[in-house]
């Protein structure tokens, strides 16, 4: 940065030795797990919970809660960055790979974007290349415990390489579409893509 403005008297005591190359620009490391939601926490009974893959697929598919738990799952240890400036390293999740879910459908060649949707009406949009090849999973445990409702439980999509609003809480499915359509925060001034390493926080950057 050539036009850097130095703040008088600011020493930056928050530097974390050793982890700097894992902290995206403008972020700082924290050890706890803040909750940020736009509205009340939904509480969907597990008996009526389903997870659907729909839209531009040959045959939509949906799992009940017991069926979803029976899918092969694995542990993920990933770094998460929230657009509100925190980064939490090595968060430990357990869930099902989106790649594995997609093995149950055949995507229409026209499908280019995914809309993750959740209880409470939340949506977030992603290009399909950001969702596949081990980059996204649907988590139902965090740190060895069932994922709590304020953090998106019973299940939350997790897309660690994008800002955390792309990791839809209370997720109930993924809809595949041909044309991109901004989701909830993407319609309210936040970036359509959300790569923390490019600091894609807000709409115009």
């Amino acid at each position: 940065m050539t036009d850097r403005f130095v703040t008088r008297g600011f020493e930056g005591r928050g530097r974390v030795p050793g982890s700097a190359n894992r902290i995206p620009p403008g972020q700082h490391e924290i050890k706890d797990f803040p909750v940020l939601s736009a509205g009340p926490t939904p509480h969907t009974p597990l008996e009526s919970w389903t997870f659907a893959i729909e839209g531009l697929v040959d045959q939509p598919v949906s799992w009940t809660w017991p069926e979803f738990l029976a899918l092969p799952a694995q542990e993920y240890v990933v770094d998460i960055s929230c657009v509100t400036k925190w980064t939490h390293l090595d968060m430990r999740w357990y869930g099902v790979s989106v790649d594995l879910l997609l093995e149950h459908v055949r995507l229409d060649p026209k499908a280019a974007f995914a809309i993750a949707f959740g209880d409470g009406g939340y949506t977030t949009n992603l290009p399909i290349p950001d969702l596949v090849n081990g980059q996204a999973f649907v988590a139902y445990q965090y740190d060895g415990q069932p994922l709590s409702p304020p953090h998106g439980g019973p299940a939350r999509m997790v897309v660690p390489h994008l800002y955390f609003w792309k990791s839809a809480k209370w997720v109930r499915g993924i809809r595949f579409v041909e044309l991109d359509k901004p989701g909830f925060w993407e319609s309210l001034g936040y970036n359509n893509h959300g790569d923390p390493w490019k600091e894609e926080r807000y709409s115009e950057e």
Partner: protein
Amino acid sequence: MRAPLAWQIATVTSIRQETATVRSFTFAVPDWQPHLAGQHYDIRLTAADGYQAQRSYSIASEPMRIGEIALTVERIEGGEVSTYFHDVATVGERIEIRGPIGGYFVWEAAMGGPLLLIAGGSGVVPLMSMLRHRAGAGAKIPTALLFSSRRRDDVIYFDELESLRAADPTLHVFHTLTREQPPGWSGYGRRIDRSMLVDVLAAIGGPPRVFVCGPTLLVEAATEGLVGLAVDPSQIRTERFGPTGV
């Protein structure tokens, strides 16, 4: 509309001590644009070696103060940005900011009411911007603020809230002190619960538009209580902060 994203250097023009750990900073903003009550600014501090820290702070001031904004900052022990504000920044300080930012946790008088605002601690800041905007616009929209603080000395904006209430019979201010209540305290003395929410809803009548800002446990308790009292979840907007704060 200009993209509200360019960093600019604002100058601190006044500092007000609100409580022992909370101060408000007024900034002269060269490339100012009006905000919506509830929006925030990003702050960026840069050390001599290039290290930077960013945080977001809610705007406390009302939108009609042309050319300036006020941010209210709680000192978080060990927080590198809030301690900079409290321990280093003085009047005349030049600080990089950008904003206003945020388009959901916002209210303007044209959106109407009745309006229910629920705050915990420094979560009151964006709600204060709404109340100042409402007063400045002369809007007589039935409004209640339910404000949870630990002790009387921790109540941010106490005197200003009293003045606003005294001047406007359509504004109802309810305080609750969760840790300690002074002798003769007439407000509540417990965490937000169902019966408190019933009282507050009764004061404004009608299905409210709700804004809740505070620590996670308070937000969860308040919103679940309201949904249990048949308030439409789609009319409840929340902003939360956990132990990390901002």
